[in-house]
């Protein structure tokens, strides 16, 4: 279902939805964009470069209590009862959730993740102003992709949005709003979409990258590529698809925390042995997980091209360039032993 909806009506729709949903939306906080729970429609941004943090934190929180231990009883933490709606999520971030689903909703379903996913409607906003660091079009996706969304809004200008449903839940939300989309509306949206796609000049060829990675594990190139990295882990934390975690007990609670392959402690065993102690190994693990292992295991690359790793690296490592510059068909000496 497609409808043309005036911005004023969208605001009313949001105010209505607030009665039944916790609304999470993009807001400006000291010149940085964050998704957070809101209580007033006026707080919402309608045009913004993508948020600093992805929306994964609403499904896989940085710190999450899984159980409480109470006199020998293990009590699973309560799951949020009220429905949530994320408003204005960008297509790249919506797509990242489909990738996380492959990890958390496979045959061993993670109930904490599942409940939050089930409980949350996703209303997307097409990305009309991609940044230099964006490369979503490298993954058969794009700034106007509906993948993973219940509803996609596209700003056509002049206070008008084209809304398109992409699920029964989205259809229900959209029913009876605005008016039918005319030909002029369709054409305008198509133009805006093409313009947005053209703005994305950064490009990665993931299939070529995969081939290079498979032959390049021992390439001395990695020594050089990782030299600048300070292992701060910000690329992992801000990545919408990074999902590695730690489980630990804090007093009477079992807690899940974000963890990441940039930290030496990630793979350090109690015996002191650590197969990925060297910075080079930790640096590689990230690229190999996203562009080789995940692809081999799940038939899809674990990257949506949101560009957060590029924009936020304190030592300005250009992540897609690292992959592009990896030599093809490495000349590696035969391994001994």
């Amino acid at each position: 279902m497609k409808r043309l909806v005036r911005k004023e009506e969208l605001k009313k729709m949001l105010a209505e939805l607030m009665e039944n949903y916790d609304i999470i939306a993009p807001v400006n906080k000291e010149e940085l964009i964050f998704f957070q729970p809101i209580t007033k429609v006026e707080q919402i941004l309608w045009d913004y470069p993508n948020s600093l943090k992805p929306v994964k934190e609403f499904f896989l929180p940085p710190r999450e209590v899984l159980f409480q231990f109470n006199q020998g009883k293990v009590q699973p933490a309560d799951l949020p009862p009220k429905k949530r709606l994320i408003w204005g999520v960008r297509p790249c971030d919506a797509r990242s959730l489909l990738l996380l689903d492959k990890v958390f909703l496979n045959e061993n379903k993670d109930i904490y993740y599942l409940e939050k996913r089930r409980n949350t409607a996703l209303i997307g906003l097409s990305c009309n102003h991609p940044q230099e660091s964006c490369f979503c079009t490298s993954f058969s996706s794009g700034p106007h992709s509906k993948d993973g969304l219940d509803l996609l809004m596209t700003d056509l200008g002049e206070e008008t949005f084209l809304l398109e449903s992409n699920s029964p839940r989205g259809e229900k939300l959209l029913k009876g709003r605005g008016k039918e989309v005319d030909k002029a509306g369709e054409e305008k949206r198509e133009k805006i979409k093409e313009k947005a796609e053209r703005k994305i000049s950064r490009r990665l060829e993931p299939d070529e990258v995969l081939e290079k990675l498979i032959s390049g594990f021992d390439n001395p190139y990695w020594e050089k590529a990782c030299r600048q990295c300070i292992s701060c882990g910000i690329c992992r934390y801000l990545c919408p698809t990074c999902h590695c975690f730690d489980l630990a007990d804090e007093d009477s609670e079992r807690v899940r925390f974000w963890d990441g392959c940039s930290f030496p402690s990630f793979t350090k065993m109690t015996s002191g042995e650590n197969p990925k102690f060297a910075k080079k190994e930790r640096f590689k693990q990230w690229y190999y997980h996203k562009f080789s292992y995940f692809k081999q295991n799940h038939s899809v690359f674990l990257c949506v091209g949101c560009g957060r790793c590029l924009r936020n690296c304190p030592v300005k490592i250009d992540f897609s360039e690292v992959l592009e510059q990896l030599p093809a068909r490495a000349q590696t000496p035969p391994r001994e032993g």
């Binding site: 061993n108 109930i111 021992d218 630990a248 963890d259 065993m269 042995e273």
Partner: protein, 278 residues
């Protein structure tokens, strides 16, 4: 829906001190139904919780052919294992699992075996040994080569004698040079050296080895060298840092293989196929 991270309550029934820093814990689940239904393969592992301290993975040292309780043999190494060593009989702990692939029993049936263990690495092999002894007719002969640093570091001392006396079993014990005492009647020397000396023929035989990585490395070299074993005739277990046991937390991979789910048991051929990433 099942909560995959939820530990099941279990009670410590018995604690057997094995060495100065290793103890075996016999556990039963509180839930009788679970106790009855809980089954597993030798080589699989569980996540063992001490509530409020943490959780860590340990192989099952008992055999599914001897139901009624499960056993884990645990060395005091860090925070969780210290808390486990502080446990007393009747204390409550948490167990979830079993996880991992386990030893390929189907492929071991009808074959002769040589089991090569070092230190606490005998724990997963013990599960296999008990299983084989309980289903003797289904397997060929069994050679057990087991070594530790010193005589007091050998685990399952009582059981070692039982195995030695079982028909169809040849057992050779060894301690590292300097680890012997006056009563010691076994070998003195490193496990790979003793393996070469015993030299069990590779005919219709599978070699299974568990122990410290350095020992495994030399066992693989010895076996595939002069002794003439093919890589697909050799089985070993790998150790990696693990948290979830379910292939989600992301730390136990070697290449695209996740040790907690695809392993921990691999043939040497499979490890070779992992190429340079192993």
């Amino acid at each position: 829906m099942e909560n995959i991270y939820l530990p099941h309550s279990a009670i410590v029934q018995e604690i057997i001190p094995e060495t100065p820093d290793i103890k075996t814990f016999k556990l039963t689940f509180e839930d009788e139904g679970l106790q009855k239904d809980f089954t597993y393969l030798p080589g699989q592992f569980v996540e063992f919780s001490v509530y409020g301290v943490g959780e860590a993975p340990f192989c099952l040292a008992s055999s599914p052919t001897r139901p009624g309780q499960i056993e884990c043999t645990i060395k005091k190494m860090g925070k969780v294992t210290q808390a486990i060593h502080d446990l007393e009989v009747e204390d409550q702990v948490g167990i979830r699992g079993p996880y991992g692939n386990g030893f390929p029993l189907k492929e071991l049936r009808g074959r002769n075996l040589v089991l090569v263990g070092g230190g606490i690495g005998l724990a997963p092999l013990r599960s296999l040994i008990q299983n084989v002894l309980d289903q003797k007719d289904e397997y060929g002969d069994m050679v057990i080569i087991y070594g530790a640093k010193s005589t007091e570091d050998l685990v399952y001392q009582k059981e070692l004698q039982e195995w030695q006396n079982s028909p169809g079993v040849k057992m050779v014990l060894t301690v590292d040079p300097g680890g012997e005492d006056q009563k010691w009647q076994g070998e003195v020397g490193l496990v790979p050296t003793v393996l070469e000396k015993v030299n069990p023929s590779p005919d219709n035989r599978v070699l299974v080895t568990c122990g410290p990585p350095i020992m495994i490395r030399y066992v693989l070299l010895s076996a595939t060298g002069k002794m003439g074993y093919q890589p697909e005739q050799i089985i070993t277990t790998l150790e990696m840092k693990m948290k979830c046991g379910l292939g989600k937390c992301g730390r136990c991979n070697i290449g695209k293989i996740y040790i907690c789910q695809d392993g921990p048991v691999f043939t040497y051929q499979q490890l070779k196929d992992l190429g340079t990433e192993f």
